[in-house]
């Protein structure tokens, strides 16, 4: 699939009036997250988490920088900072993740004798589809409703981590940070010169040229 916003990199706006110092500090810290660093997950959990993140958000190979999703989740779990609510049927955030990662590994092992991260791509997706539908067989799911865990914890945490990262903003053509400079052109099909240009069929190079000037 061709890129919708060829050549657009939201980070090129870093030194523009769209970013202030507070934002630069916050985003710099996010970009500096070491994708291999974890201190909440043990080794087995970490391997499972990374493999799951790659299935839920298969980041395009040309992405640079890649969003260190697993490390962002590990960081959130280690901090203990929650979302402000917990479904009574689910354990607390950290416990839910530990139990869920172990249960996904156990579910994988039921059929193949392998842990989740050792499965092939399609097998991994098959396991995740079962979890999403709640069609699980392993006793490791006791006390953790699979469907609910998948929707409210696993998907929620992985996907919000990804879309908190500039790599995803470039991909979807989001303008990114906008302070002090906001936007001027509000109507249909209008873009400010500091917004991503969308590739129109047959005019991809035009968009790429425009995107080189975004800053």
């Amino acid at each position: 699939m061709t890129e919708r916003y060829p050549g657009y990199n939201v980070l090129n706006k870093r030194n523009s009036p769209s970013w202030n110092d507070q934002t630069r500090e916050v985003i710099d810290a996010r970009l500096a997250i070491d994708e291999d660093f974890h201190r909440f997950c043990d080794q087995a959990e970490w391997r499972a988490l990374r493999a799951i993140c790659e299935q839920i958000v298969p980041q395009p190979a040309h992405h640079f920088p890649k969003a260190p999703i697993a490390a962002m989740i590990d960081q959130k779990l280690y901090s203990g900072k929650g979302d402000g609510y917990r479904d009574a049927r689910l354990p607390a955030q950290g416990d839910a993740w530990r139990k869920g990662l172990a249960a996904i590994d156990a579910e994988a092992a039921l059929e193949s004798g392998k842990s989740f991260c050792e499965l092939g791509q399609e097998q991994q997706r098959a396991v995740l589809r079962k979890v999403q539908k709640g069609e699980v067989a392993s006793p490791a799911w006791a006390g953790l409703p699979a469907q609910l865990f998948f929707a409210k914890r696993l998907l929620h945490d992985i996907v919000t981590a990804y879309y908190a990262h500039p790599a995803s903003w470039s991909e979807i053509g989001f303008g990114g940070p906008a302070s002090p400079r906001g936007y001027v052109r509000m109507n249909f099909d209008r873009r400010d010169p500091w917004e991503a240009a969308e590739a129109k069929v047959g005019r991809e190079e035009e968009a790429r040229r425009d995107n080189e000037h975004v800053g």
Partner: protein, 524 residues
């Protein structure tokens, strides 16, 4: 800022500084009372403290643990609570609407819910006061309801997402308007107009947003009120006569006590009942102000369902305030409804994290399907309701045995839709789908399980058996204990509640001043 001693009673200790508590703190201080207002969150300086970043700005939300259950467990945190001085107005979407007049007597006029002990004509004047204070920008003529003054500031320019709402409404032959918004469309003092950065719900970094933080609270400080931030009130103390004497609060690592002649609880629909219930004592074993047994009951959400679709045109809904256009047609028209109550719907502008969560957690997308759908971000367009739900006693806030970081029992929030609520939601989804289709949008889908604002749990009413406070927000049981926030609402209507909460606070301040002059306050 003036500071008060803990060991000398202030006239009013107010717990919470949002739409209810912050407004009341200002008005009471201006009327000459000594006031200390507590907030569990920090006193932000938006120009210095706010980044343009969804994840970072979650620091504005109340993210302490709460348990949710019932048939339709709520999502709390980001969209319906704040832990900041200024409360959730620091991250609200600024939508500033008046109630439909009949809603104040919905039981006797419209046949559902409960009547308010306040007349709409009195509220109409208080609404005008709040709109002036916030310099609400809005249309010259509002299409629904009785006459109201022209909005203080001109309406904002519409973004493409709002123009889609207008197209749909016109195709179906209903009215629409630019949404009255509490963000500046022209300079005011040192603040410049809104720059349409579109990040309103994660905190305005330019102070164009007219939140409680930048409107009522500077006036409160000017008038001699103290705002005590990072102060979590854990319980309210009372004496042997059953009058309250002050509040216990945790600040800088230790529990302290502030003496007060009156205590006002303004913690919103979860923290308000939680504090009253956590203050149970030998004299009041069911919690304070709770002889009716209604503290924590009749929690009402507003339904927040949406239809989403894809436009061939570039929408880029991240630009500008998220809800620039609205229709209140189904708040004011009762024709052909198979349900009680009403709803408004507005244009939308979700930021990427929220949009990702919507596509995954709500719609179930992941893998390449998720990335493909997310890539259409700049073409997505949606309509979302603020829908009235009916009061039900089974929807409630109670205490669990688990304790939080303060050592306080954490709340359990139980919520299930009624059959009437479900009919309202179904009606709105059908109607909005037609409206969106009429604009040429494709691939339309329903987001069926979202809710927004909370109200109720300490309702006002006509007598001590069927309500917690009277029309003046004074508790029936304890004459120097008051409740002033969204929890006093007997019904919610189909509009965002912040303007009404502020109007109630203005009225409460006027009533307190009148009672003080007549010697009807408790003097200890």
């Amino acid at each position: 800022m003036r500071e008060y001693r803990e060991d000398q009673p202030v006239d009013f200790a107010i717990v919470g500084t949002g739409a209810g508590g912050g407004t009341l703190a200002c008005k009471l201080a201006e009327y000459g009372f000594s006031v200390v207002a507590f907030d569990a969150g920090p006193y932000w300086r938006p120009l210095e403290d706010f980044a343009s970043d969804e994840m970072h700005q979650s620091k504005l939300y109340w993210t302490d643990e709460r348990i949710v259950d019932g048939e339709n467990p709520l999502q709390l945190g980001s969209n319906n609570s704040g832990k900041s001085v200024g409360g959730s107005t620091v991250h609200f979407a600024m939508v500033s609407l008046r109630f439909r007049p009949e809603w104040f007597k919905s039981l006797s006029i419209l046949g559902y819910g409960a009547d308010w002990p306040i007349d709409w004509r009195e509220m109409w004047d208080y609404y005008a006061e709040v709109e002036q204070t916030l310099k609400v920008s809005g249309p010259i003529n509002y299409p629904w309801g009785p006459k109201r003054p022209r909005y203080p500031y001109r309406a904002h320019e519409l973004n493409a997402a709002a123009l889609v709402l207008a197209e749909g409404a016109e195709a179906l032959g209903i009215g629409w308007t630019a949404t009255p918004l509490a963000t500046l469309s022209a300079p005011r003092g040192l603040a410049h107009p809104c720059v349409y950065r579109g990040m309103c719900v994660i905190g305005c970094s330019t102070n164009a947003k007219q939140s409680v933080l930048v409107t009522w609270l500077p006036r409160a400080l000017e008038a001699g009120a103290e705002i005590r931030d990072l102060a979590m009130v854990g319980s309210i103390e009372h004496d042997s006569r059953g009058l309250v004497t002050g509040v216990h609060y945790l600040r800088e690592g230790r529990w302290r006590f502030q003496k007060a002649r009156n205590v006002v609880v303004a913690g919103y629909s979860i923290e308000t009942p939680r504090l009253l219930l956590n203050s149970a004592s030998g004299k009041f074993p069911q919690g304070l102000a709770n002889s009716s047994g209604l503290v924590g009951k009749n929690l009402m959400v507003q339904a927040n369902q949406a239809v989403w679709g894809i436009s061939d045109r570039e929408i880029r809904s991240y630009k500008g305030p998220p809800s620039l256009a609205i229709t209140e047609h189904w708040n004011y028209s009762d024709e052909g409804k198979d349900f009680h109550g009403g709803y408004s719907y507005m244009s939308q502008g979700p930021l990427p994290m929220l949009w990702g969560a919507t596509q995954s957690s709500k719609r179930g997308l992941w893998g390449q399907a998720l990335l493909d759908e997310m890539e259409k971000y700049n073409h997505q367009v949606g309509l979302k309701i603020v829908g009235e739900t009916l009061p039900q006693e089974r929807n409630c806030v109670t205490l669990t045995d688990e304790r939080d970081q303060y050592g306080l029992r954490i709340p359990r929030v139980t919520h299930s839709y009624s059959d009437n609520d479900k009919r309202l939601i179904a009606h709105s989804l059908r109607f909005m789908r037609q409206a969106l289709q009429a604009t040429g949008a494709r691939d339309i889908w329903d987001e069926t399980d979202d809710t927004c604002h909370l109200n109720g749990t300490a309702r006002m009413g006509f007598d001590r058996k069927s309500s917690v406070v009277n029309a003046d927000c004074r508790s029936w049981d304890i004459p120097n204990l008051w409740i002033c926030d969204g929890s006093v609402f007997p019904t919610v209507g189909g509009v965002n509640p912040s303007l009404t909460i502020q109007a109630i606070a203005c009225r409460t301040a006027d009533r307190i001043r009148a009672m003080a002059r007549r010697g009807e306050l408790i003097t200890t």
